[in-house]
């Protein structure tokens, strides 16, 4: 319904090939991902769907450089992630990726402003710039009047906005959101989705995981996972649409 604007695809940001992830639990080995290949361009808005346990979160952690694959190849902006050490992964997460979690994961004792400043601290930004930028992003997500509120003084939707501001503050290449509306009622969920739509239109690249078809409908491309494999990917359709729009 919102898919009226489709921005032209930019260069490839994420390129994974044949990614697998096994979890060893004692005797048993869980194959969370069994060989997933995916290309994600800048300016995409992707929903990842699938039944519970199909490997959505595992894939998101992999894309977000939080976890390393058991096998397979991963390139982020042309750089080989599979070969990176811990500190390099931390730097990628800090500068290139903005995480939005289902449970918000805000620091409970810190104000909105301080929460949003956090990635900037790890990026080595000086205090004044930090505060300025954090405040600006908070205003952008509509929380200009909640800078000094602690998370427990905010509503769920407002908390998720703070988390989104935090994900945006370092101007990442891509925003990863794992069930961002999972802990919100549907009305608040729609507000958050409107915010994502707005971000997309302002030039951000977004990947989100969801169970809800009406949430997924906001995205321009939908990838379905089942049992650790890609079941369907309508990326081809999107690309077709785009080439039609261009001609």
């Amino acid at each position: 319904m919102n898919a009226d604007v489709i921005r032209p695809l930019g260069p490839i940001i994420i390129d994974i090939a044949n990614i697998t992830k096994d979890y060893v639990m004692g005797e048993e080995v869980v194959h969370a991902l069994r060989g997933v290949s995916l290309q994600i361009h800048s300016n995409e808005y992707i929903a990842i769907m699938g039944p519970s346990g199909s490997g959505k979160s595992t894939l998101m952690n992999m894309l977000g450089c939080l976890d390393t694959p058991t096998s397979g190849h991963y390139e982020f902006n042309g750089r080989n992630v599979s070969a990176m050490n811990d500190d390099e992964l931390a730097a990628i997460r800090n500068r290139e990726i903005g995480f939005v979690f289902q449970t918000f994961n805000l620091l409970p004792r810190a104000s909105s402003l301080r929460n949003v400043e956090l990635p900037l601290i790890y990026a080595g930004v000086d205090p004044e710039t930090r505060e300025e930028r954090a405040a600006q992003v908070l205003r952008d997500v509509g929380l200009g009047d909640r800078l000094d509120h602690k998370p427990n003084e905010l509503s769920g939707g407002q908390r998720q906005r703070v988390a989104i501001a935090r994900a945006l503050v370092n101007d990442p290449s891509i925003i990863l959101a794992d069930e961002p509306t999972g802990n919100l009622d549907s009305k608040t969920g729609q507000e958050i989705m409107a915010l994502f739509e707005n971000l997309y239109q302002r030039g951000h690249t977004i990947i989100l995981v969801t169970h809800e078809p009406y949430i997924a409908r906001h995205a321009r491309r939908t990838v379905h996972l089942r049992d650790g494999l890609i079941e369907s990917d309508d990326g081809a359709v999107v690309r077709e649409l785009e080439s039609l729009a261009l001609t």
Partner: protein, 416 residues
């Protein structure tokens, strides 16, 4: 570098917030360190106090005086070899002084004979017992370090002529003349009257064992007239240059051998003692007391450190999800390590600061109540205990901080 500074200041803020929001827990945990720091600091002040008292006691002997005596100032295993030595006689002073005068480049200045024993001293109805009565010559003053509270030492004329005069120590004056000046009064020693011509100012005690102020000094001739039996004599020899103590000592050994008429094959039958030798005998004892004291009090600090370690582990566990979030936002391992190290260090510093304040107040109180108690609070001690607190914090925080920094981000984020 800049990032490191921001991370440190951020970690400090977190540490302070953390302590504020867990006030009771922080104080209880810091209590271990508080007690440890109080114990270590008090022990430190006591050790410094003992050290100062020790040096003061040693100073009484003078670092430029050699003591010719029958016994050496150290533990001997073959005491029977010393027991049968001939007694030192006051008469040796004269030939020694003659030989010193005759030698052109002597390292020695002057030999002073002294002879002492213990007696009671009376004045009117008052009496003090266990007083060291010492006979010597007027030059005794050059081998000594004391000042006069009142009056003077006896002069050469009084010394040679054997006048019935004496100089009394602070304790004697205090006991016999609580409200009047002792000068020109006569005290009785073994029934003999001696006119007081001087009062020595307070010297304190020797290592806290006995008072250096329970003394009466009189000219040698009078001393020998009344007390010569059972008295112990030594020769004190002042050295010209205290940097050449070893040479002076060799020279004096030669002189004493000549005085005693010892043939070359015979061993010395006297001992030449000096402050330094006594120090080196007593130093190991003093040091082992210090080490034992610091070790025992250090244990209490160690217990405090374990408490901090424990609470830091709890803190890491409670905040696993936060650690995961921070890692997702770009915190590196060392950032997390630093954060928890700073938290434990902040706790220890808090404990150290409170402990130090307590220790200071206690020192102050002890100093007011028992002025003679050897205790000494110094700025160095403050620095040392602050450094000790920081080290304790780093020590106790390291294991939990390390485990936090190693957490896998995905596992940490999943932690409920």
């Amino acid at each position: 570098m800049k990032r490191f500074v921001y991370e440190v200041s951020e970690s400090w803020k977190i540490a302070v917030t953390q302590m504020r929001s867990n006030k009771t827990r922080s104080i209880l945990t810091a209590l271990g360190v508080i007690i440890g720091i109080v114990a270590v600091t008090l022990m430190g002040t006591a050790i410094t106090g003992i050290q100062i008292g020790f040096d003061k006691s040693m100073a009484v002997f003078g670092d430029d005086v050699l003591y010719v005596e029958q016994w050496p100032w150290k533990q001997v295993d073959d005491w029977w070899n010393y027991r049968d030595r001939k007694k030192i006689k006051t008469e040796y002073a004269e030939p020694i002084n003659r030989m010193i005068a005759a030698a052109p480049n002597s390292n020695l200045l002057e030999a002073v004979p002294t002879s002492s024993l213990i007696r009671s001293v009376k004045y009117g109805d008052s009496e003090v017992s266990n007083i060291l009565i010492r006979g010597t010559v007027s030059d005794y003053i050059i081998t000594s370090t004391f000042d006069f509270k009142e009056g003077r030492f006896f002069n050469e004329l009084e010394s040679r002529g054997g006048a019935n005069v004496c100089v009394i120590g602070y304790d004697v004056a205090d006991a016999l003349f609580p409200s009047e000046s002792p000068i020109d009064k006569s005290v009785l020693i073994s029934g003999q009257p001696f006119k007081v011509i001087g009062v020595i100012s307070r010297q304190g005690s020797f290592l806290g064992l006995f008072s250096l102020d329970a003394i009466v000094v009189m000219p040698l001739p009078v001393f020998q007239k009344y007390f010569s039996a059972k008295s112990e004599s030594d020769i004190l020899v002042k050295v010209k240059d205290k940097t050449k103590l070893a040479e002076a000592r060799d020279e004096l050994t030669g002189l004493m051998r000549r005085v005693r008429g010892l043939p070359p094959e015979k061993k010395d039958d006297f001992s030449i003692n000096e402050q330094q030798a006594l120090k080196s005998t007593l130093d190991p004892i003093k040091n082992s007391i210090a080490i034992a004291g610091l070790f025992v009090t250090g244990l209490s600090l160690f217990v405090g450190a374990i408490g901090i370690m424990n609470i830091t582990f709890v803190s890491v566990k409670e905040r696993t999800k936060e650690i995961g979030t921070r890692k997702a936002l770009g915190a590196r391992r060392r950032t997390i390590l630093l954060q928890f190290l700073i938290e434990s260090t902040a706790l220890c510093l808090l404990g150290g600061f409170i402990g130090l304040t307590f220790a200071y107040l206690m020192c102050f109180g002890i100093g007011k109540t028992f002025p003679s108690f050897p205790i000494h609070f110094s700025f160095n001690l403050v620095m040392v205990s602050m450094i000790v607190s920081i080290l304790t914090g780093l020590f106790s925080g390291f294991a939990p901080a390390w485990s936090a920094s190693r957490l896998d981000p995905v596992t940490a984020l999943r932690y409920e």
